[in-house]
Every structure is written in structure tokens, then in C-alpha cells.
């Protein structure tokens, strides 16, 4: 077999299919509106995608383990609100806003990890409960109103401005996080263990791997990612607001799955997740430029995701 053939086999089918769908969407967008393929518009799409991309990074780690994190919506909101609250707090330096928010997300992630790894509660229900707690905390914190505090200049810089080569800083941030994740997953024993746990926890335990610590670490990273995405979103819109994370659960999980990561764990590549994120963002963008009522957009959005999954996300047939 030639080197090219081996290379081709290494790139998984899902990634190819996702890239194919992206090309189709780009062509469809260009046919509808000439400006769709302008560099400026595409960079703007990438900027929006990077917020989703940061969330999807954490989701992917957790999904690789065979778990799921449903605490995303309110951890994102918590990240946004805590950063602006720290920025508005008199006694704190503005530079602490981002670390403080990420630390809060990290804390919730640790709680999630302990519940899943040590208490052995199914991740779906445990993260649901921590989501409710994060929501409760934020309602107490804001008394149910939109917070008055504003984002710091640093947050604005990270989320909106274009400092290097005219590429949005948010994209650089996502690229940095992505590169770190690829190294973590592909080049460290930790990463190998993540995939191994997704395939068989028991095998990892029997080969003396510390299953629990890896699970807690992954949930902690996921919580930090969600909170950091909240920071970026608050920087993007200068404010944090109630339920700002709600529109990100379905897209984040859909992006990870459309990128070829098995929802049962153990299989998937970060490149696929990147493709999935771009795919979902482009789909949303096309549905919003085609002037269609929200109802139609949602129906098409759901239908397209189903169709794409039917094309390349089907499970194996049970035969024995």
C-alpha cells in the first residue's frame, strides 16, 4: 500500500464527510449570496465558531470517556457572570476576572468528576443536578436580574479584536486550546488513558490505570472550557446575562458527534470536532441569512443534523 493510501485510511470517514458537508454548505451559501465567501464574512464565522469550539473541546473530552456533560448551559453563564462580577468588584484587580471565572468552572467540573468517578452516579443525571445548582447560585447572585457589571478590556480584546494578521483573537485562543488538546490526547499517557477508558474502564483499572483521576480531570477541563467560553461570550457582548449558555448545548454535542466522536466513547479525533464546530456554525449562519422565520430554521436545523447523522453517524447493526 502506498503512503498516500495509508494516510487516507488514517483520516477517518467522518472527518471526510464533515469536510464534504462544509464544502456543500459553502457552495450553497455562495449561490444564495455572493458575499458569503468573502474573507471578512468567513473570518467572522470562524470568530463565532471559536466560542462553540472552546465549549466543544470540553464536551469532546467527556464524551471520549463515554460520559456526557449537561451542566454546560449554566457553567457557561456562570463563567460569564463571575468574570464580569470580578471585574466590577472594588477590591479585586481587573486582571483576576478571567482566572477567577475559569476557576469557578473548574470547581464545578471537579464536583462533576467526583460525582461521576467516585459516587458512580450516571454522568447525565449528576451534571444535570450541578447544572441546577449553578443556575440556583447565579439566580441568588444576580437576584434574578441581568447583572450590571461590564466585561474587562482584556475580555473584549480576547473575544472581539483582531491583533495578529487580521485574524480574530478568539480564533487564536481556540487554536491554542485546540493545539493543547491535540497534544494532550495524542502525545501523553493521559490522552491514551482517556481513549482507553472510553473503550473499557475495567481494562484500564486492571492494567493499574487510575480511572477516577482521569475522569475527574476531564470533567474539570470541561468545566473550565465552558466557563472560559462564558468569559469570551461576555467579552463579545460586553455583558453577561441570564441563560446565555442555553443555546450552546445542542450545537456543542452535535458538533462533537458530527465530527465523528462516538457518543459511546473511545473513538474520535480533535480535527473532527473542529470540522463539526465549523459545520454547525456554517449551518446556523446560512439559516440566519436565508430570511426564514425562527420556526422554519429550527425545523431545518434539526432535520439537517438527523440527515447528516444518517449519512455517516450510524451505529453498527446488532448481530450477536
Amino acid at each position: 500500500m502506498s503512503a498516500a493510501g495509508a494516510m487516507f485510511r488514517r483520516i477517518d470517514r467522518a472527518l471526510l464527510a464533515a469536510v464534504g458537508c462544509i464544502v456543500v454548505l459553502l457552495i450553497a451559501g455562495a449561490l444564495y449570496d455572493r458575499n458569503f465567501l468573502s474573507p471578512d464574512y468567513l473570518l467572522q464565522q470562524l470568530q463565532v465558531a471559536s466560542f462553540l469550539g472552546v465549549i466543544a473541546t470540553g464536551v469532546m473530552l467527556v464524551v471520549l470517556l463515554g460520559h456526557i456533560d449537561l451542566s454546560i448551559p449554566w457553567v457557561v453563564t456562570l463563567g460569564g457572570m463571575m468574570s464580569t462580577a470580578a471585574a466590577g468588584h472594588q477590591g479585586l484587580a481587573g486582571s483576576l476576572a478571567i482566572p477567577f471565572a475559569v476557576a469557578c468552572g473548574f470547581g464545578i467540573g471537579i464536583v462533576n468528576g467526583i460525582g461521576v468517578a467516585y459516587l458512580r452516579v450516571p454522568s447525565m443525571i449528576f451534571t444535570l443536578a450541578t447544572n441546577a445548582i449553578a443556575q440556583g447560585l447565579m439566580i441568588v447572585h444576580t437576584s434574578g436580574f441581568a447583572p450590571e457589571d461590564h466585561a474587562t478590556p482584556t475580555m473584549h480584546l480576547l473575544a472581539v479584536e483582531r491583533s495578529i494578521l487580521g485574524i480574530p483573537n478568539a480564533v487564536w485562543v481556540w487554536a491554542a486550546i485546540g493545539a493543547g488538546t491535540v497534544v494532550l490526547l495524542r502525545r501523553t499517557p493521559f490522552g491514551r488513558r482517556v481513549y482507553a477508558i472510553g473503550n473499557s474502564e475495567r481494562a484500564v483499572f486492571l492494567s493499574r490505570g487510575n480511572v477516577r483521576r482521569v475522569v475527574v480531570a476531564c470533567f474539570a477541563i470541561a468545566g473550565s472550557c465552558s466557563a472560559f467560553a462564558g468569559v469570551l461570550l461576555a467579552g463579545y457582548s460586553t455583558k453577561a446575562y441570564q441563560a446565555m449558555g442555553d443555546p450552546y448545548v445542542l450545537p456543542a454535542i452535535a458538533a462533537v458527534v458530527l465530527g465523528g466522536t462516538s457518543i459511546l466513547g473511545g473513538r474520535g479525533s480533535y480535527l473532527g470536532t473542529v470540522a463539526g464546530v465549523v459545520l454547525v456554525t456554517l449551518l446556523q449562519s446560512i439559516l440566519s441569512i436565508v430570511q426564514m422565520p425562527e420556526a422554519g430554521r429550527q425545523i431545518i436545523y434539526g432535520a439537517v443534523i438527523i440527515v447528516m447523522l444518517l449519512v455517516y453517524g450510524r451505529g453498527p447493526k446488532v448481530v450477536s
Binding site: 450516571p122 441546577a132 450510524r314
Partner: protein, 333 residues
């Protein structure tokens, strides 16, 4: 062995196999007793009726969730079906009794259609239920918005009041509907071939397949019936509010609470054990927690936090079984 000893043994077995649901029943009875003794109006028909209506809404959505969960799946679209059928009912349940009856039939049928779509996608599309129903849920949310872009509606108030009132000021009619659904739908389903097949599939899909259990049909029927139960909840909501609203947040919160109710009611999220009756009490437990926070004068702003903490504690209670695990390797699947 004597008859009496056999019967005692049967009883102990029954007790052990129904521990989860029985715990939910006990919890509900204790909490509800506390609620009515603490409530300023006491155990009046009105207090009980309000509690029953609120609980029945969640109970139906959670029953819808129970069926796919029993097969080892999940239906994240139950909340959306609930909201969608609410919107549909708010356009169809006005006018003469004949119109209302036709409307009810169409609403229930629409729930079945949603269930059929979910079942087709999960079963014959071989997609993972979590992601597939998340996507179909978005679609149903879109349909709800299309049916009712702005909140409102016109509902035959006599019918609505009857559905949400009490029989002889004693038995809330929503409870009658709930019991009716259990007797007419759940119990026959539980005893049918496909119902037992659903439990088998939830315990071990491969073993079920190898034993000739109709795996595909069992899963399919579970999602279809889930759509029906969610539609009943949608009807009840319409009767309570006289209107419809395409409220995605409401749908989302009902979906999440339905999963919580299923777990509190003693059904395993891994499938194969539990049932709808436990779920009903699980749903009532969750609703009674909210009521208790109200009668104990907890600050409304901190109520969601309390609910979250109670939910976290409730789902963590199952971890006591870990103490009984002798070999650590058994902790890992």
C-alpha cells in the same frame, strides 16, 4: 417449605425488587403529609387539587421518559413534544364538545407521530438516542413556534375546568387521568410481549437479540408511547393555562426534570429495571419539594438553589450501594 414461608419469601423478593419505587412512594407520602400540615389552608380540596395538577403534568412527561429509559435509551425530545402538543391543543380545543373531542384526538395523534418519528430515527436509522432526540426535539420546538408564534389560544373553558377540577370536590380529575393512563396503557404494556421485551433489551440488548426477543419493535414502541404520554401532558397543560406558548425553556426544564423524576422513582438510567409507577411518585416528590420550599417561606430567589442541592443529594443517595461492592473491579464496567 410451607405455604406461609413461601409467601414470605415471595414478599421479600418483591420488596427487594421494588425498593426504588417503594422508597419514592414513602418519600412522597412523608413530604406531602408535611406539606399539608404546614400549609395555612390545610388539606383542603383546593390545595390538593393544585398540587395534583402540577404533579400530574410532570408525571406524564416523566412517564414518557421512562419507556425509552427502560430500553437503555433516552428521549430528550419529551419536553419539546409536550410544548408542541400544548401549542397544537390551544388552536384545536375551542367550540362545541364535538370539536373539542376531535381536537383531543388530533393532539394525541400528533404526539404519536412525534413518537413514531423518534422511533424510526433511533431504531431504523440506528442513531444514538441522545443525539437523535436532541435533534428531533429542536424540530418539534420549531413546529411549536410555527403553530403559535405568539402566546395565546382559545380553549373550551368548560372542558378545561372539568379536566383540571375535582370529582365531587374530592378526587382531582388529573389524578383520575393519571390512574387511567396507568391502567389502560402502562399495565397492559408492561405485561405485553413488547413491554417485557423492552425490559430485556434494557438489561442486555445482545442477550435479548440472541434469545429471539423482538428488539427493534420493542424499542420502536417505547418511543411511540413516549410521544403519546408527552401529548397527554401537553393537553393537561392547555387545560390548566387555557392557552399555548412555544416556550423552549419550559420544554427544556420539563425534559431535564423528567430524567430526574425517572431516577428518583427508582428506574435505572442504564435500563432494564424500574417502571412508570415509581416514576409517577418520583415526579410528585420533585414537585412537593418545590411546595415545601414555599410553605417553609424559603426566599424565592434561593429556591432554585435549594432544588438543585436536593436533586444532587437525591441522585447521590444511590451511591450507598457502592459500600456493598466487595471487589473494586466490580465498580468498573
Amino acid at each position: 417449605m410451607s405455604d406461609a414461608r413461601l409467601r414470605a419469601q415471595d414478599f421479600r423478593y418483591w420488596l427487594a425488587s421494588h425498593r426504588g419505587p417503594l422508597l419514592a412512594v414513602a418519600l412522597f407520602v412523608a413530604m406531602f403529609a408535611l406539606f399539608v400540615t404546614k400549609h395555612p389552608a390545610g388539606a383542603s380540596a383546593n390545595v390538593i387539587n393544585t398540587a395534583a395538577n402540577k404533579g400530574a403534568l410532570l408525571a406524564f412527561v416523566a412517564m414518557a421518559q421512562t419507556l425509552p429509559v427502560l430500553t437503555g435509551g433516552l428521549d430528550l425530545s419529551v419536553g419539546s413534544v409536550f410544548v408542541m402538543t400544548n401549542c397544537l391543543a390551544s388552536t384545536l380545543m375551542a367550540g362545541t364538545p364535538a370539536h373539542v373531542a376531535l381536537g383531543v384526538a388530533i393532539v394525541l395523534a400528533s404526539g404519536l407521530v412525534c413518537g413514531v418519528l423518534n422511533g424510526l430515527v433511533v431504531m431504523f436509522g440506528r442513531l444514538q438516542p441522545i443525539i437523535a432526540t436532541l435533534a428531533t426535539g429542536a424540530m418539534y420546538g420549531g413546529v411549536a413556534l410555527w403553530l403559535r408564534p405568539a402566546p395565546g389560544g382559545d380553549v373550551n373553558e368548560d372542558f378545561a375546568d372539568f379536566m383540571t377540577g375535582s370529582l365531587h370536590d374530592l378526587v382531582p380529575f388529573s389524578i383520575v387521568v393519571l390512574v387511567g393512563a396507568v391502567v389502560v396503557i402502562w399495565l397492559p404494556y408492561r405485561r405485553s410481549v413488547l413491554g417485557r421485551a423492552a425490559y430485556a433489551v434494557g438489561s442486555s440488548e445482545q442477550a435479548a437479540y440472541m434469545s429471539g426477543v423482538p428488539v427493534a419493535r420493542a424499542k420502536f414502541l417505547a418511543y411511540v408511547l413516549a410521544g403519546l404520554f408527552a401529548a397527554i401532558a401537553g393537553l393537561l397543560l392547555t387545560c390548566l393555562t387555557y392557552s399555548g406558548e412555544a416556550n423552549a425553556l419550559l420544554g427544556g426544564s420539563y425534559t431535564l426534570n423528567s430524567i430526574a423524576a425517572v431516577v428518583v422513582g427508582g428506574t435505572s438510567l442504564y435500563g432494564g429495571t424500574g417502571g412508570a409507577i415509581g416514576t409517577i411518585f418520583g415526579a410528585f416528590v420533585l414537585r412537593t419539594i418545590g411546595d415545601l420550599l414555599f410553605v417553609f417561606d424559603i426566599d424565592p430567589l434561593s429556591q432554585p438553589l435549594f432544588l438543585g442541592v436536593v436533586l444532587l443529594i437525591a441522585v447521590s443517595l444511590g451511591s450507598f450501594r457502592l459500600l456493598k461492592v466487595k471487589k473494586r473491579v466490580d465498580l468498573y464496567r
